[in-house]
Point group: C2
Chain length 169, copies 2
């Protein structure tokens, strides 16, 4: 990876399931997260940063209790609110997303960009790829508008099989 701000594996949909220099894109995402929270007047505290790191290290969605277990072994609190609050913060800041279908959370792969994400969830290896869904969201908004419904937030998730797991199995 020559340009630290362009990690193919993490940011480009086409390569969402491809191997890449993950350590580099993790570090880059952390750096951007720090900058963004400072700009937003929010505080990137140790627990919050650690939770984001954990989400970035794993390339999949983690449950709140998975995150909590890892925090607990590192000297942070071991009660659910510790994890839920940090995760909520990250989601609010746009640094992570909640995957409804899995009751789980994944680091945002497009930190700082104004994006309309959809999630591709592999039911075999449990990887979660974040992809742009601008068209799908437009369609949904248009359909909702026809019924007079004002959309505030939307959830678009696909469950299926990733490229890597199609050959295998």
């Amino acid at each position: 990876m020559t340009d630290p701000h362009d990690c193919p594996g993490c940011a480009v949909p086409d390569l969402a399931f491809a191997a890449h220099d993950h350590a580099q894109c993790t570090q880059d995402a952390l750096d951007r997260a720090e900058a963004l929270t400072r700009t937003a007047g929010a505080r990137m505290t140790p627990v919050r940063r650690r939770v984001l790191e954990i989400l970035l290290e794993e390339h999949k969605a983690l449950g709140a209790y998975d995150v909590l277990a890892r925090l607990a072994t590192e000297g942070f609190g071991n009660q659910p609110p510790v994890a839920y609050r940090a995760l909520e913060f990250l989601v609010d800041q746009g640094l992570a997303h909640r995957i409804q279908r899995l009751n789980a959370f994944a680091a945002c792969a497009h930190v700082g960009e104004d994006h309309a994400p959809a999630f591709l969830i592999c039911r075999s290896c449990h990887m979660v790829a974040e992809t742009a869904a601008t068209a799908a969201r437009s369609s949904l908004d248009a359909e909702a508008a026809r019924a007079g419904f004002r959309v505030e937030r939307s959830t678009i998730e696909a469950l299926g099989i990733c490229p890597g797991c199609q050959g295998a199995s």
Copy 2:
């Protein structure tokens, strides 16, 4: 509860939040459900039928425990599996949908049709309207295909404000 004025719509997207004869569409849906399950070789038992009725009567998504509470007062079992099994059956048969965002279930408004539903969830009155999302699903499938991902099931849900709650408060 069966007051047509509380009914945002059962079947027609354009009328999704409009008043209509809810008792009639409920009965229609039940009749169609009976026919479909017979065709599929499945059994529409008393518990299952009652759960479907309950979902149709209420004009919103119901949690499994809400359904269970009503079943229990009517002489059915009062343990969670009773509700979850009936709901799972209805979802498998395409007679109901699960709303991921709410951990809840809603009767299908398009029984028997091959449809690609999206759900419009009013965060004010908690009503849920089922609408066609063919275009949105196509977009999502296309985007997934670009990444080599094979979509099996997808979830499209919008959270916002329904027409009735926009004027009111």
